[in-house]
Symmetry: C2
Subunit: 590 residues, 2 copies
């Protein structure tokens, strides 16, 4: 046994409450090292050889180095003490808080009353601390709209110098095409046909630029897009069709033309807004910068969210759009650069306005510190984005590495955060998927298929579904192509069909996920998704030649290819399926 | 290199803000595995080969399996991206968020703007999130008083049936001896002479039992102890002598005679306090229990701290004693069974009343989840208690194991939490130290010496310093012995001298701590404590025979034994010091 590989941390993503009565306990070992791993547990005030239980754990994720074990326990008094038992051949090792010991559990020092000394503890499951994201997100398929570029429904609002909305229009950092909220309302039929049920809007509040991340007034719709009445109309008409709306909260920084910042520019330290920003030295200067900004962008001064006035202002913004306008969630821009205390109050404010609102952090990195139940429901799942791109699109990693990187996300957060993770493949911040795939539509489709059949809520960037192309900003921000003969209808149907499949089967939404094959050096994978009696096995091949994929370690059953009708029967826990070059096979249990 | 042994978690005790400009970055490796470990870092929005810095890390803690590396970094823009570089012989391996890679850093997918893809990140150091315990605790020496048993200063308050306060009095679970607040005031001279500067009182609020953990009225001093005026007098007289006061907040559960609980007993679900507790079924019954309790104790019903009314009541209690009476801290009973949200609001309330108040959780286990800056300043450091007892008193573990268990606490929490940890050796909940040592005063003194010379705030349980004895509750709760000829004066002087030494030298309070010798199988250790030019080396021997302790890996210097005056000079980074059986040598650099 490699003791150095074993890892557990109490009260973390390795030991947390999944709901008001269930604890999830996890432990890491070297990959393939153990015959059996168990949790030995009992009530913390009644932990004796007679009262303890041994619960076997299962491997639920693995990577190149490690196996990750998991077990679900419902302790009768919502509290428990525990240790781990590792078995390999004739060797048995226990781990508790004091450390490793062969054949028996450590005790140490002077224990507390009836409680054993040295056990790990989950001291008490208080419902208010449980991380409970809104259920509806498990069923959500998002569609991201960049409002200036989706549809122009009201030419009277067009800003001066608006350019022509043509299929070959060229976006620049500065130009405008006249997209607006009426344009979105006019095209709800289109979105409903595609099958999406939640729109994520990048900002539509009053701002200077075309991307609107440089807010002037957080309580006002930008006049080029419409007004608050129009926003409310949009929300209501979307809701009528079962489509929810998520807005973009840019609270890390304001725009240059945000009146409080203008006031500080003008009056310096005498401004009544002087402490709304992080000013190192007055007067404000841009070179060298005398105030904190987003990145090194002078036009995006960082707001001081520790200042109670700033906080009160932004929290009122958060409340207003949810309670008065009726939006269903907030995506939080640059979420990890704002203080944790702000986000805790933000959560309280938003959930008070609507307990079912979705709070989604924009974090490109490990986000455990925000996913404990007190801050965000979930984060934009960039580590999964990158893994999908590296495997299916860029052909840079093998199947084992792909599995490892995805499974690491399974252990990175509590399960409920992964169930509502926001899985995107591209956005207004990155090149478009088809561009990353160098125009290879097969690779693009493999990536999208995996995204749509994986755990977490998928998000489609507007226009991807009709074959829009474009590199990083500004290339990825072309006006939506509405001319039918410029749209890729085959691709649209591909997205539509997969979205429908996901909607039809809970197994493909919040069912369990498990890799069945993902070998070192291989360019193909298979995985299983299960919910109750609903079970799918999907095999995908990123190689440029056909492969027979051996599906292993599967419970018995008979599967049918949903496209061809071919059937497969599990024998001795396995079967083989031929998967075409750059193709995939979706099998459903009969 | 054993990759399986390497561990890092962003935004955790492995990567945190120590103050408003300093980050601490840590990583774990297999013990003795690496030649060199470094952090490679740069601004997250300007991370290029030209702008990155490589900072060497140092081993700051170790145990039987692992080395723990540490480095302090002050990123100019309070944010950074980083990776680790491991070197061994000719091999170099990098670790970032994507994983391990030889000779170069991984990148993956599509990065964000100027930011590198796949690096670890400390996204932004927001001052309000920094864990900042009160500075004074670093200088504190606590003295724990169980009010019923310290001194009887006002016989008119004695409860009916009060027993005689004699050196051979026998405490039971039920009897009373008449201790009170006046008794403490009368003996402040004594405490000042001993040298302590903070009193930790177990509860003195109105309650039924002699231990007062079954509260009846949280806003009232128990009439047997005095009243609120007397409490205020005590606080003021203590403050005049530089002695602070910490009270015991029993907020997990109330007493059986707490009026709201009595109301629920009487009126069942019609009581207006029906939802102040965790009632599973009305009417209340004790067998089987139909309501949640502390442990399985029917007389201690668990309070529902999620209920806004309960919360408001308890927060007012927290505020009142700090703001109106002037106490300096709260010790939180059964702290880990109360919800995290309650403790966050508790912290805000208490720190608003007095930003310098100390918030100390009673947790016997790993407490990382409470020590991130939003809840407690520190916890009762039972893992250190147990390690000291196992090594010095019970002779159950060797020096290497002792070092490992102590050093694991160094990596378990952010440094600032360890600097103000509450280090006790015994209490009203455990047998007395002399009892655990089976009457062996030499072992008791070794344990106390280590406690008084270690990082964190030591606490002496009343009477230990004059040789009081007694097993677990009720044995450890004898009335304080005031008769001079029944007191151990040599022991008192031993404590007094060590407390003075600690007070005289910052190195012994919040200086760095490092084991110099702690070998497998050995019964002796040595360690170094340093602050600026103030440096001590202490060698301690738990064996029943003399040992020459080899002190190794020491910076050059000349040391003097503070008792004998013998001098020692470092040669080639080492020297040897003879330490008597069950004895210790304290060396101070000249
Ligand atoms: Ca328009
Ligand atoms: Ca009395």
């Amino acid at each position: 046994m490699l003791l150095e590989a074993i890892h557990h941390q109490p009260k973390s993503q390795y030991a947390y409450a999944y709901d008001e009565e269930t604890l999830h306990i996890r432990v890491r070992t070297k990959r393939g090292d153990m015959d059996q791993v168990s949790v030995v547990w009992g009530d913390k005030y009644d932990f004796t050889p007679e009262t303890i239980t041994t619960s076997k754990m299962e491997v639920f994720a693995k990577d190149t180095l490690f196996d990750y074990y998991h077990v679900e326990i419902k302790p009768p008094f919502r509290r428990f003490a525990y240790a781990f038992k590792f078995e390999k051949g004739k060797k048995t090792v226990f781990l508790n808080e004091v450390g490793f010991k062969e054949d028996e559990m450590h005790s140490s020092g002077v224990g507390m009353l009836w409680s054993p000394s040295g056990m790990f503890e989950f001291p008490f499951l208080n419902p208010i601390d449980v991380h409970t994201p809104p259920e509806w997100v498990k069923d959500a398929v998002f569609y991201q709209i960049f409002p200036e570029r989706f549809a122009n429904g009201d030419p009277t609002l067009n800003p001066p110098g608006t350019e022509a909305w043509t299929p070959d229009a060229v976006p620049t950092r500065e130009n405008f095409f006249g997209g607006d909220l009426q344009g979105v309302i006019d095209n709800l039929d289109y979105l409903e046909e595609l099958g999406i049920n939640c729109i994520y809007f990048t900002p539509f509040f009053e701002a200077y630029s075309n991307h609107k991340y440089d807010t002037i007034d957080y309580l006002k719709v930008d006049p080029q897009f419409g007004d608050e009445k129009k926003a409310k109309e949009l929300v209501e008409k979307a809701h009528e069709r079962g489509i929810r709306i998520m807005l973009d909260a840019v609270f890390n920084h304001s725009g240059y033309y945000f009146p409080p910042f203008q006031d500080v520019l003008k009056h310096g330290e005498k401004s009544r807004f002087a402490d709304w920003f992080h000013v190192k030295e007055f007067p404000l200067q841009t070179d060298p910068l005398t105030y904190d900004t987003f990145g090194f962008v002078p036009a995006m001064p960082k707001l001081d969210t520790e200042n109670p006035e700033v906080k009160a202002y932004l929290l009122e913004v958060a409340r207003y759009w949810v309670e008065d306008i009726g939006v269903d969630g907030w995506r939080l821009d640059v979420a990890n650069e704002v203080d944790h205390r702000f986000w805790r109050e933000f959560r309280d404010t938003v959930k008070r306005a609507n307990p079912e609102a979705y709070i989604l952090g924009e974090i490109w990195h490990n986000s455990l510190a925000w996913l404990q139940g007190d801050q965000f429901d979930a984060v934009m799942n960039y580590p999964v984005t990158n893994s999908i791109l590296d495997f299916f699109v860029k052909d840079e990693i093998d199947a084992e590495n792909f599995m490892g990187r995805l499974d690491q996300m399974m252990i990175a957060y509590p399960k409920q955060a992964n169930e509502v993770a926001f899985n995107l493949l591209d956005s207004h911040d990155t090149p478009r998927l088809l561009h990353i795939a160098d125009g290879n539509k097969d690779r693009m489709k493999l990536a999208a298929m995996f995204q749509l059949l994986y755990l977490g809520a998928p998000c489609i960037y507007y226009g991807d579904e009709i074959g829009m192309d474009g590199g990083g900003d500004p290339g990825c921000r072309k006006p939506m192509i509405w001319e039918k003969d410029h749209q890729d209808h085959e691709l649209f149907d591909f997205y539509k069909k997969l979205i429908q499949l996901r909607k039809d089967h809970r197994a493909l939404r919040d069912g369990s996920f498990r890799f069945l094959s993902a070998s070192k050096g291989a360019k193909y994978i298979s995985f299983e998704r299960t919910h109750g009696k609903d079970r799918f096995i999907i095999a995908m091949n990123t190689d440029t030649k056909q492969h027979d994929v051996n599906v292993e370690d599967v419970a018995k059953g008979k599967f049918r290819n949903i496209d061809t009708g071919d059937t497969y029967t599990v024998k001795n826990g396995k079967f083989a399926v031929s998967v075409p070059a750059l193709g995939a096979v979706i099998l459903k249990e009969e």
